[in-house]
Structures are given as C-alpha cells and as structure tokens.
Symmetry: C2
C-alpha cells in the first residue's frame, strides 16, 4: 500500500469522526412514505438512514459485526451486487387480531464484499413498508467465514429528533417483568425491545426485532444523544452468537408512524417479517378462556407445594372444572400439580417432575372429568430456569400431555439462581441469560416438540415475542410482562398507566397472557388493586391474547354477576382489530371483531387521570343494528376512592352513531356490540 | 422449607422492588466527613450507602456477582464476621506529583455467608477516606467456590442527587481516545471510568477503580435516573473474569469532594489503594522530557513506513539527538524504526519485528550517538493489538533495549481488526477488548518483564490507569486519551475545553502522555490547532506525566525561542502539587514544586471563553523571593483570531503576593517561579 494511503488509513483508523459517506442505494416504501438510503463512507463502512416524507428520522447508522476469532466485519466494504423486488401479498392468520394480514413492501438486497484480502461477503436485505423498515444480515457460506463467532452486532440506530421514550431496562436482572420508564430519549440507558419513542414532531418510533431464531436477543444501548446501538444478550460460552454460514440474523425492525394508533397497527409488520406457518393444519390450536388454580397462591391463601393449603388437589380441580363448564370456559390451569415444589425449587429446579403429580392430585381422573365437561387441563411446566433438567423430561412430559388431552402447556422459567441452567457442550451446567442464543434454541425446541403432540405453548419469563407465532402457531402467548400477580403483591403494584404503556411497547411484539379479570379488586392481605371494575373487563379487549384467563377466584365471580357477564361473553379470536384512539401511556381505545361473527368488542383503558373518548362506530357493519352492552365506570368512579362504581347499560346503535365515554382515574370501559338485525 | 417461607420467597423472587434493608455495619472517615452504611435486606442482599456530612450521596446500592457455572452470589447472605482498623500512614513516591502521600482511612471488613446450602463466603472491605471510599470483594478459598467464572459484577452505584456528568462512552469502538460528553447525570449511557459528576448541591463525585490486576476493567452503565451498575469488559472466552479463589477484585472507588480542586487532589486515594512498590530500587526510572520522530507523521510530511518520507532514518535521528542535547532533552522517540510498517499493519500486526530496524536506521549507531550526548533512544513497540505476535518477541525486544541503553519503551495497541489478537488456551487467536482480563494480564506482564531489564513502559491505546504505578513505578505513563495528534488531523480537532475536561476525568487515573508543545499551532495541511501559544506551555504543568514530549518539529522551536524557553525550563518531577482554582471543563490552575528544588511552576488552562484567575502565591516558600517568569496570553489573544499573541514578562514575587491573570478564549498561562534569594 502506498505511503499516502497508509497515512490516510492511519488517520482514518484512529479518528472517531465520521468520514463522508456516499449513498450507494436507496429504496422507498410502496406509497413513498418512508425512504431508506444505504451508504458507504470513506472507510468503507456500511450505513443506512431513513426519512419519512423527506423528514430525517434515522441518521446515518452503521452496520457490522465484531467477531471473536477473526477481524471485525466493519470497514473496507464495497458494494458488489444489488437486487430489488416488490411484494404485495395477503395471508391469513389461523388465529389472531386480524384474519387477513397484508404484506406490502419494497425490498432491496445489497451484497458487500471486503476490499482487503479476506474478501468476506455479507448481504443486507432491507424491506421498506409504509409504516416501518425491517433489515437483516445474510452471511453466505464462504471460505474465510465458515463459522461466525459474533461478539457483538455493530448495528446502530441514530434517532435524529429528541423526544420521549418508554422503555424497560435490559440486564437489570435476569428477568423480563418490569414497569416501563418514561424518560427523554436521551435519558434511556440500555433498553429491552420493543422500545417506543415519540419525537418532538409527533412521530412514533419503535425498535424491535422479528424472527429471533438461533440467535441472541437484541437490546439497544444508548451511546449518546439519540444514538443507540445493538447490544446482544450474552452467552456463557464467549461469543454471543455462534453460527455456521450460511445463516441470516433476525430482522431489525424500526416502526415509524405518525401517531399511537398507527404504531399499534404497524405491529403486523413484525408478523410479515416472519416465515409462513411451518406446521400445516393447526386447527388443534384452540383460542380459549380459562380459569386457574393460581390467584389463590398469589393471595397466599393456597400453595404450590404440598400441605394444608395445597391448591391443586383433585377435589378443588373438579370444583374449578364445574365452575369453568358452567360459565363457558374451556381450560383449567392447575399450578402446583406436580412434584418438586417443596424445597428451594427456585434456586435449583432440580426436583421438578413433569410427569408425576402430587399424591393429592389424580391427574388422570381430573383430566378425564374435565374432558367430559369440555374443559381441558392446561399443563404447567415450571422449570425454575433449569432447562438441562427440563429437556431430559420434555418428551415424556409432552407425551403425557397428549395422552391426557392437555392441549396447552404453560412453561415457566422463574429463576433465582442467576440465570438459566443449561447443559453446555462440555456436559457441564452453564448459566445463561433468558434471551441468549441458547434460549432462542430451547424455546423453539419446546414449541416444535409440542407441535408434534398438538400441544400449544405459553411460556412464563419467556424469551421476548418476535412474531414467531406466524411460523409456529402453537406458540400462542407469553406471560412475559409485569402481569396481574404484581397487583396481588407487587411493590409497587401495577400503576394505572401500566397497561396503556404495555399496549404501545411490549404488546408490539405479540400476545400477552396478562391474567386479568380480578373483580374483587383486592390482592394479598386485602390490599387494593389500582383499577376500577370496568377496567378489569376492558383488559380482555385491549390486551391481546388468544388464551385469556379469568384470573379471580370463583367466589368473587359469583359475587359480581353483572361484570362477570362480560368476561363470559368476550371473544378471544378476531377477524379484525382497530385502535380508534390512543396515546402512549395515557389512553388506548381498541375495537375487535369476533372471529366468524358480526359482533364487535370495544375496550378502553386510561391512566391515573380521568380520560374521555368520543369515537365513531363506523367500524360496525353499516347495514346492521347492534345492541351495545356497555360496562363503564360510574360517574363517581375513581380507582382510589370508588373503584367498584360501574354502570352496565344497553343501547341500540348503528355504524352512523358515535360513542362518547368517560374513563375514571384508573378506569376503563368495555362494550359488547351484538348484531341484532338488519 | 415451610409453605409460608416458600410463598414469601416466591414473592421476593419475582418482585423487582426493594425489600426493606437493615444496616448491619457502618464506618466513618477519619474526620467524620464521609459515612458508609452497609445493609442486608429481606432477601439477604448486601447493600451500601454513603453520606457526606449527613447528606445522602450514594443511595442503597447492591453488591454481588453473576457466575456462569454456579448460582449467583447475590441473595441470602448473612453477616458472619467483621473487622475494623484505622490507618494513618505516609509513603513516598519515587517520582510523581507529590513526594509524600498520606494514606489515612478507617477500614471495615465484613464477611458474609450464604444461608443456603452452598454457604459461599465473601468479604467486602471498605476503606473510608475523608474524600472518598474504596471497596473491594475478597473471595476466600472455599470448597463450593474454588474457581469464580464471573459473568458480571453486580456492583451498583446509586447517585442520589441530579447533576451534570462528564464521561466518555464505553464499548463505542474498541478504543480509548474520545472527547468527553457533558450531559445531565441521567443522560449518561455506558461510561468508561474515571467518570465525573457535579451534583445540584455542588458535590463532585468520580467513579473509578484502583489496582486493576488480573481482572476485567469496569465500566458503569446507567440503568435509570442516577442508578448505575458495573459493566465489566467482555472476554472472548465467556466469563468476563476467571479466577481461582482466593482472590480479590480491584478496588471500586468513589471520590466525593466539595469542589473541583479537592476532587483533583483526591486522586491520591487511587494510589493509596494500590500495593506499595514491588520493584525495590527504581532509580533507573528517569522522569524526563523527550523529543520525537512523530509529529511529522501526523502532519503527513514523514512516514512510519520505508520510503522517501521515512522519518526514522539514521541521519534524521542524529539531527534530532543534536537538537535534544542542545536543549536539555534526554530522550528521543523514533517511531517507524522497525520492520513491519509497510503493509496493512493496522489490520494484522503480523509483520512487526521488535528487534530488527529498517535498513536506513542503524539502531546501534543511533543509540550510541545519543548516549554519548546524554540522549536515550525511547523504544517503540507498536503491536497493532496483536499481542500474540508481540509476546513471542517480547523478551528479545526488551533484551535489545537494555543492551542499547533504551530505558523507556512506548508500546502501542492501535488495532483496526476489531480488537486485541491474543492466543487462547486452545492455541488459536481470539479477539479481546483493550480492557479485558487478558489485557490486564498482558500489560502487567510487559511491565514486569521490562522491570527486569530496567526499562520503563508507556503504552498507547492502553488499559486504563488505576494507580499501578505505585506498585510498578516503571509503568510511567500512558498515551491513553485523545492527545495532541487529534489537533493535527482530528475531526473535530480537540476543542479548547478538552484539557479542562481531561484534568477532572481521565487524569484522576494517573499520568498522561499528551505530547504537548506544538508552537507552530498548526496541524496537517496547515490547519489550525485550537489553542493559543501560552496554552501549549501551560499543558506541561496542568497535564501530569513524568515523561513529557516536546512534540513539535525542531524548526518550529527554533522559530519560537521565547516560548520554547519555558519548555526547556519546565520540570517533570515534583515534590508537591496543588490545584489553586478549578471548575470541571472550564478552568484549572495548578502549581507544582520541582522535585528537590525550591522552584515552582504554575499552569492554567481555560476553555473557549475568556477566563480570569487571581490566586494567592502563599504556596511559595515564605522566606524567599522568586523571579516569576510569566508566559501569558496577549491582551488581544484568542485561539480563533490571534492565537500567537503572547506576553513573556518577569516579575519578582513573594508568598504574600497574589497573581491575577487573564486566560484568552482557548488560552492558558504558564509561570516559572525561580527562587532567587532570601
């Protein structure tokens, strides 16, 4: 290399400043709303930037990898090939918020090659939708990169505008259940995804990923100002990701929309970036409402372990099945049914059996009793994060489930040991993070093994949802947020804004098993839940999950027959979904059309302030009359002083009407629209 | 375990909220200024908090470890032993800012043991000084923890007050040379240490570490608000630290002082937390001023590599030796003396020889010529981060140095490959971070091998300085900051406030080889350096290093004999040091007393604004008269418009006088106080 080039390279090498970048390719979204420019700078670093209607949104952000056993894939690239295509497709969800999903984007795939002697190649594929961008790295098989030992993915996200961010901290502990912070964008630390921002000009931006398969989960760390970079979840084995080429990374997703409702709708983009259903006929995956032997443990009136308070007994389970059958619920979760809860289970997870019931729980009798009444037991595999132990029993456990008609299993990874205990290639136990590559593999292993037995999976303390339900529709939900149990004993309890935060953050990823519907409005020791009665009903509509628990004790439902009627009536599977009004952390008004029926349901939740909404009912079938069954906060309702004040009223409405409702502080509203005639 | 205890544990386990903590021990600083409380909460988590004169400074912050092959060391601890002691000692630096350093603290050592069956123990030792706190973990040898595979050190720092932070980003690239950010404390991302804050009430707080030996360098990541946590530098091999017990971690240091000058003085605390000199007589470590074949490369008028512009030729080196000898400099750094600079050296580092000179550089002749004139060659070992390659030659290279009278070596770790290339236990090359455990070991290996040959070490792109110069006094300095070369070609160039930032941040760690004194005030292509002439002189006093370069070309010194006189006169080794006035990022006025002489030197640097100071000269010997040789910015000086305006004047002063000076925008002031009689 010439001396001048050497000197120039030396200067480039040791200066941190950006070198001038040339745009080498561009792509716009189908309607031209979003535009992405891909650039190479003077160092041969690959960058991208995104604008929305000519307004810069993402400034030049670089791409690359840091490897543990080879020079980084970062500089000295040249563009050697590019391909464009456009897709406009519509596909159908077997279950979901929408029956039909439109997949409409322009794609540009750029292949870069190093100019230095290794000449390694990578292709970066960008898909530009009108409400967001997805991109991923594809590393082809190549002699100088047969295996990628990825120390870090050097993907940047430079948010141009200042604004407000809603985010949950990553690596705070080895858990997933947090309240969301609301800070300036430049006050974010290291955030889990999905992670949502509203900029000064009102744009709504969310960063997430799609199709997290055999890779480490991505968090984003703020470097300075609005500059973020990917920070993958660590692995015990050194590189955060180890993959043989060829492989592709998960999609990095940036949703960019003008307001809250359109941000919520943009979560379809996550599904679109996932592969189609690989399981074929999945009619055995059954959306449902269920009850549980569960809330009593959180109230401390029942126990998981054997003893005088043991919840999962044959007798109590049969009583619960009777209650479920009488009220139209088709599932019973019985936590604490199996051996292993008696010692320090959360410290080791070594004692759990996933096939042997406690002696006071006759699982065969209970499941047969349930099936006779149309109520399936929902399996429960709490592993305490000891997946080494769990994987040894997984096949036998799922075989038993299939045999007993258990068609949904809640798995669990609540670990106090400091992480997931996995068996490494060396045969020893290694502690892993919940969202590392080991767990991406484990969860998919469980889901595919379960699919072979026609069992659906709902993990607790899971890996985050990246839309894999499209590819594996038996991955039905996740208890992967700070759910209702924190309203039993949490410090602090879930605050009134919590669900209005979750809808625009965590729920962009997918369904959440939040376990709502606690009509007693009281937690452990009769402490209050920070919610009105009507809000408990609204949660069934606003918080999407194809499996929804009626979480409260039967006696509390019996004592509240009026509100309970909504829980009995509400659907769990939908043809269509629309957010009619929404402001991150403040308000969400969502309507959903019941799958295969003309009926609609509306749910609205606010925060700690009184909120009002006035929405057109134009979503209703224009040719029909509907009976609106309205469950709204009483005029004096307030979660602090009068949480039980509820008004239940009926009204006949049509598509040309509007509906104006008040949401009390800490409140909500729920409406069932029953088609009653032309 | 009882059912109630099980349930209670489950609740504790899955809630993120703090459990109530009991104070189990306390200690105060000798004058009672600082107080630390150590607590155990309901989960058995160990915490500490610090107050200053009853004002909370650090809120309850937890301690512990996440391990890769064993349950985390975090909860379920009980206090099983405690020991207190007080130390008031004064020790002497062989070279330094102060000849005598007072080490005065109260210590409390607390031994905790797990209540669960593993019963692992750790001792945490807290040393409480009046201007800061140091603490470290000591892990004794024990059956259930014979080796610690540390995934993360779970050390927290909860800064109670809001305020302003000066910080450089960690993990931004695999480098150490950055400008410092100034943001609100709650705007920090992941910071390198030292990292400095000024709170709303005016407290100055800095977080750093001391005695980084066989461990991974600590960065601090902000979680939310003012809550920070340790984030160790990763390792290619999985756990960030692997140590057999018994071992102790580096000291975690929190300096807490009422103002900028006292913060600077508190950096003695870092030295105090290091072990005493292990090298015995170190009279062979010689503080000195030196010149270099170096600035020409940054100007692009000379080259490291062979060719028509090759800088390190026999002829040019002899000319430089003549210049050095004539002006009283005793060292010559000749970069580019050795084979290996001709190819993509920064991508591999494979071609460097550390014993073979280029054919146009007769190293034996040059070194002999220099020694005759009292000028030692300063060795240069640029490794490009390929320590595998370097370590193979290290012994032979240092043997050659010793043979040739090369008593100081500048090592270098400028890597473009994406990290340090180290040979792993598997015999393969692994890429490592600059501040991981591998590099902590490597640097100390180089330093101790060099000590055997009576060679001092000054690394470029080093591991951070944690005060190990106390233990290994041949570790003389570091080119580990964004130094003068960025004023040659940096984008942006070092701004006027840069040095006033460094003094209160990076320099808390120790000496920095900043390579000041560019009297041409021009960089590459005649672009301006953002400094006045007087400031270039002031840097020799304010930026401490026992080896100081006169960085400019000889012809530029010859053209500026007036200012150059200060560079010839200024000392590099000191009996005493005091900061007379200082404000982070704005101003620093420092006086230092020449080692073994009654003379003092004053240096003052400002920022982009005009600054004035008026300080008493009471530091001078009260019985003496001094000739003050003043080099100050001319009245119209300004780094943008009139950087060369300098006034050089003499005045006779005594300890009862004051000195008031104006610092121009981008300017500085330098004063030599020569004792002239009683």
């Amino acid at each position: 290399m010439s001396l001048l080039r050497l000197l120039a390279a030396f200067a480039l090498l040791i200066i941190a400043a950006p070198a001038a970048a040339d745009t080498v390719a561009s792509a716009s979204s189908p309607a031209g709303t979003l535009k992405i420019d891909i650039s190479l700078n003077g160092e041969g670093r690959i960058g991208y930037s995104i604008s929305r209607i000519r307004q810069p949104v993402i400034g030049e952000s670089h791409l690359g990898f840091l490897l543990s056993d080879a020079p980084q894939l970062l500089r000295n690239f040249q563009l050697v090939a590019q391909q464009k295509r456009s897709v406009d497709d519509t596909w159908e969800q077997p279950w979901g918020e929408w029956r039909k999903v439109r997949d409409h984007y322009n794609e540009i795939a750029l292949t870069f090659e190093e100019k230095s002697k290794l000449k390694r190649r990578m292709t970066i594929v960008f898909r530009v939708f009108d409400d967001g961008v997805g991109f991923r790295y594809e590393l082809p098989a190549q002699p100088s990169l047969s295996r990628a030992n990825i120390v870090e993915e050097l993907t940047q996200f430079d948010i141009v505008e200042p604004g407000t961010a809603w985010w949950a901290p990553a690596f705070e502990s080895n858990r997933e259940e947090y309240l969301y912070n609301r800070t300036p964008i430049d006050g974010v630390g290291i955030a889990q995804t999905p992670f949502t921002m509203r900029t000064a000009s009102g744009l709504h931006i969310a960063i997430h990923e799609a199709a997290l398969v055999d890779y480490s989960g991505m968090n984003v760390a703020r470097v300075q100002g609005g500059d973020f970079k990917a920070m993958l979840t660590p692995s015990s084995s050194g590189p955060k990701v180890v993959r043989d080429t060829p492989f592709e990374t998960p999609w990095r997703v940036i949703l960019i929309t003008p307001d809250g409702p359109s941000l919520y709708a943009a979560n379809q983009l996550i599904l679109n970036l996932n592969e189609p259903n690989k399981l074929g006929d999945v009619s055995w995956v059954r959306p449902r409402k269920y009850v549980g032997i569960w809330w009593g443990m959180h109230l401390d009136t029942q126990s998981w372990a054997l003893g005088p308070k043991h919840g999962a007994t044959t007798a109590y389970a049969k009583k619960m099945i009777d209650f479920a059958a009488k009220n139209g619920f088709t599932g019973l979760l019985a936590e604490g049914w199996n051996k292993g809860w008696d010692d320090d289970w959360f410290a080791t997870g070594n004692d759990f059996s996933f096939t042997q019931a406690y002696p006071d729980f006759d699982i065969r009798a209970v499941s047969a009793y349930g099936l006779k009444k149309g109520v399936h037991l929902i399996g429960h595999h709490e592993t305490s994060g000891n997946i080494a132990h769990y994987e040894e029993q997984l096949g036998a456990a799922l075989d038993l489930d299939r045999e007993l008609g258990i068609d949904t299993v809640k798995t669990g990874y609540v670990s106090d040991a400091g992480g997931i205990q996995a068996r490494g290639d060396d045969g020893k136990i290694h502690f892993e993070w919940h969202e590392g590559q080991v767990m991406a593999r484990h969860h998919l292993h469980v889901v595919t093994e379960a699919a072979k037995r026609h069992v659906a999976i709902n993990p607790h303390e899971p890996i985050k949802d990246t839309g894999l339900r499209r590819t594996y529709p038996n991955w039905v939900s996740r208890e992967g947020q700070r759910g209702m149990e924190y309203s039993a004993w949490g410090v602090p309890k879930n605050p009134p804004e919590h669900e209005a935060n979750l809808i625009f953050t965590r729920m962009l990823g997918g369904p959440m098993d939040y376990t709502p519907g606690v009509l007693s409005l009281t937690g452990r020791g009769n402490t209050p839940i920070l919610s009105t009665l009507a809000k408990q009903l609204a949660l069934y509509v606003v918080l999407y999950s194809p499996i929804q628990m009626a979480a409260d004790l039967p006696e509390n439902y019996d004592a509240n027959p009026g509100p309970f009627q909504f829980i009995k009536d509400v659907a769990v599977d939908w043809d269509d979904t629309r957010m009619l009004a929404g402001k991150v952390g403040d308000l969400a008004v969502i309507v959903r059309k019941q799958r295969g029926r003309p009926d609609w349901f509306l749910g609205a939740v606010g925060d700690e302030q009184e909120r009002r909404f006035d929405v057109p009912l134009s979503f209703l079938d224009p040719g029909r009359r509907y009976r609106a069954e309205i469950y709204r906060d009483g005029d004096t309702a307030d979660y602090r002083t009068n949480p039980r004040a509820i008004v239940i009223e009926r009204r006949t409405v049509t598509a040309s009407d509007r509906m104006a409702l008040r949401i009390a502080p800490g409140g909500g509203a729920a409406v069932r629209f029953v088609a009653v005639g032309k």
